[in-house]
C-alpha cells in the first residue's frame, strides 16, 4: 500500500471539502496553510477554487430585490406593543389611568421620533388628551393594547390590530394605518384606485377598516393586501380576520 498516495488522497479530500471556507476567508491559520499548499500542487483543486471564486462573487453580487426595512419594523413595533406594553423600561403608568408608555409608543410610531424626542413631545400629547383632541383605546388589566381579548388572542397569546374591539369586521375587510402625513385627498385617491371603501375608523390609534370589492379567492385577497402594503401611503395593512395562511410581508420585486 502506498502510504504517501493514501495521505495525498486524504489531504485532497479534506481540502476539497474546505475550499468554500478557504474562499470565504473563515479558516484558521493551520487549515488555511494546508489548503494553500495543496492547491499549489493540485490542478483539480485549482479549478475547483476558480469555481468557488465565481460562486462567491455571484452570491455577493447586488441583490435585485427592493427592500423596505422601516415599514417592516413599524409592523414589528405594533406587534410588540400589542403583546406586552408593560415590558418596556419606559412604561410610566400614571395615577390617572393613562398608559404613558402607549402614549410614547404612539408618538414614536406616528412621527418616527426617537425615544428621546418622543419623550420631549409627551407634554404636547398630554395637552391634546386633556382637550379631547385624540383618544386612546381603553385598557383594562389583562387586556392587550387594542381592546378586550378574543378567541384568537387566547389561542395565539397576543393580539393584533385585527382583533381590536370596534365594529365587527367581515371576511375580506382590511385594517389599515396610513403613513403619517397622508392627506385625506391622497387617501381618497388611493381608495378609489383599489377600489375600497372605509367601513370603520379611524380608531384612536388611527386604524381604518376598509371594505374591498368581492374577491374570488383567498389568494386574491392576499394579493390585495400585499398591493396595499406596497403603497407608500400605507404603513400597516392586515386582514381584519385571520387568514388560513401566513400573511404576506411588504416586499417588492423590481
Amino acid at each position: 500500500m502506498d502510504i504517501h498516495a493514501t495521505a495525498d488522497t486524504s489531504t485532497h479530500d479534506e481540502v476539497s471539502l474546505l475550499l468554500p471556507w478557504y474562499i470565504n476567508g473563515s479558516l484558521g491559520d493551520r487549515q488555511k496553510t494546508l489548503v494553500g499548499e495543496h492547491v499549489r500542487n493540485c490542478i483539480a483543486c485549482r479549478r475547483q477554487m476558480e469555481s468557488e471564486t465565481r460562486t462567491l462573487a455571484a452570491f455577493r453580487a447586488e441583490s435585485p430585490l427592493d427592500q423596505s426595512a422601516q415599514a417592516g419594523f413599524e409592523r414589528l413595533h405594533v406587534r410588540i406593543a400589542a403583546r406586552e406594553p408593560s415590558r418596556s423600561g419606559r412604561r410610566l403608568a400614571g395615577a390617572v389611568g393613562l398608559d404613558w408608555n402607549r402614549v410614547l409608543d404612539k408618538i414614536q410610531s406616528w412621527t418616527g421620533m426617537r425615544p428621546g424626542m418622543a419623550m420631549a413631545a409627551l407634554p404636547l400629547a398630554v395637552i391634546a388628551l386633556a382637550f379631547g383632541l385624540t383618544r386612546l383605546p381603553q385598557q383594562t388589566a389583562g387586556d392587550s393594547v387594542y381592546g378586550a381579548g378574543s378567541a384568537s388572542t387566547a389561542r395565539d397569546g397576543y393580539q393584533t390590530l385585527s382583533s381590536h374591539a370596534g365594529a365587527v369586521a367581515k371576511p375580506w375587510d382590511v385594517q389599515v394605518i396610513f403613513a403619517p402625513g397622508t392627506s385625506n385627498d391622497t387617501i381618497e385617491r388611493l381608495l378609489r384606485s383599489i377600489p375600497a371603501t372605509i367601513v370603520d375608523g379611524p380608531t384612536g390609534v388611527g386604524v381604518y377598516t376598509l371594505k374591498l370589492p368581492k374577491l374570488s379567492a383567498d389568494a386574491d385577497f392576499q394579493a390585495a393586501i400585499v398591493a396595499l402594503r406596497a403603497r407608500q401611503e400605507v404603513a400597516f395593512a392586515e386582514a381584519a380576520q385571520p387568514l388560513s395562511i401566513p400573511g404576506p410581508g411588504k416586499a417588492k420585486t423590481q
Binding site: 473563515s26 471564486t53 453580487a61 427592500q67 426595512a69 417592516g72 425615544p115
Partner: protein
C-alpha cells in the same frame, strides 16, 4: 495560484459588529425598543436574503423577519453571548423559515417558483454576460433543497465558518461540510458557467 478572498481586514470589523450587536441585544433585553430598531436595521438585509433563499417566497420574507426579531425581543434578556450575535439571529431565522415552509406545505399555497418568478428566470436568448449574475444564481438555486440553499447562503454570502453554520442549523460540523459539498456539486451541474464551460441551462433547474 488563486488568491483567496482576503477577509482578514474585515475580521476586526466583524468582531466590533458582533460586540455592538450584543450591546444592542443587552439593551433589547431591558425593553429598549430603539435598540431593537437598530438591531433590526443592521440585520434586515442579511435576514431578507437568507429567508428568501430558503423559502423562495417574497411574500413570506417580512413576516418571517418579524417572527425572528420578535423572538429576539422575547429572548434577549436570557441569551448568553457565547458566539457571534449574527449566528444566534440566523439560527432563529433558519428555524422560522423552515417553519414557514412547513406551514406552506400544509396549506398547499404555491411557492415562489411554482407561482412564477419570471423576472428572475434566466433568458436563454441572452448571453451570460448580459444577465445579472445574481438573478441567474437566484433562479438556478431552485434546483437545490431549502437546506442546501441555507448552507450555501451562509457560506458564500454571510462568510460563516463551518462550525458557526453547524450552530445556526443545529447539526454536526461534518454534516455541514458534506451538505455544502453536495450542494456545490449540484450547482456546478446546473450551472456549468461556474466551471467556465458553457452557458447556464435553466431547464435543468426544475426539481419539481
Amino acid at each position: 495560484m488563486m488568491v483567496p478572498v482576503d477577509r482578514q481586514l474585515d475580521e476586526p470589523r466583524a468582531a466590533d459588529q458582533s460586540g455592538e450587536d450584543w450591546r444592542l441585544i443587552h439593551r433589547v433585553g431591558m425593553g429598549d425598543q430603539a435598540a431593537l430598531e437598530s438591531l433590526y436595521m443592521r440585520h434586515y438585509s442579511g435576514l431578507y436574503r437568507f429567508i428568501l433563499q430558503v423559502t423562495r417566497r417574497v411574500d413570506f420574507v417580512e413576516e418571517v423577519i418579524n417572527d425572528v426579531m420578535f423572538v429576539v425581543w422575547e429572548k434577549a434578556a436570557e441569551v448568553k453571548p457565547l458566539s457571534k450575535a449574527s449566528t444566534w439571529i440566523l439560527g432563529i431565522a433558519h428555524n422560522k423559515a423552515l417553519q414557514a415552509l412547513r406551514r406552506n406545505r400544509r396549506t398547499g399555497s404555491a411557492t415562489l417558483d411554482q407561482s412564477g418568478y419570471a423576472e428572475l428566470t434566466p433568458d436563454m436568448d441572452m448571453s451570460f454576460g448580459e444577465m445579472e449574475t445574481r438573478e441567474v444564481l437566484f433562479a438556478l438555486l431552485r434546483g437545490l433543497s431549502p437546506e442546501q440553499r441555507a448552507v450555501m447562503e451562509l457560506v458564500y454570502y454571510h462568510g460563516l465558518h463551518y462550525s458557526e453554520i453547524a450552530r445556526v442549523i443545529d447539526c454536526p460540523e461534518n454534516t455541514v461540510k458534506t451538505r455544502v459539498f453536495h450542494a456545490r456539486r449540484k450547482l456546478r451541474e446546473i450551472w456549468p458557467e461556474l466551471t467556465g464551460t458553457r452557458a447556464p441551462d435553466a431547464s435543468k433547474t426544475d426539481n419539481r
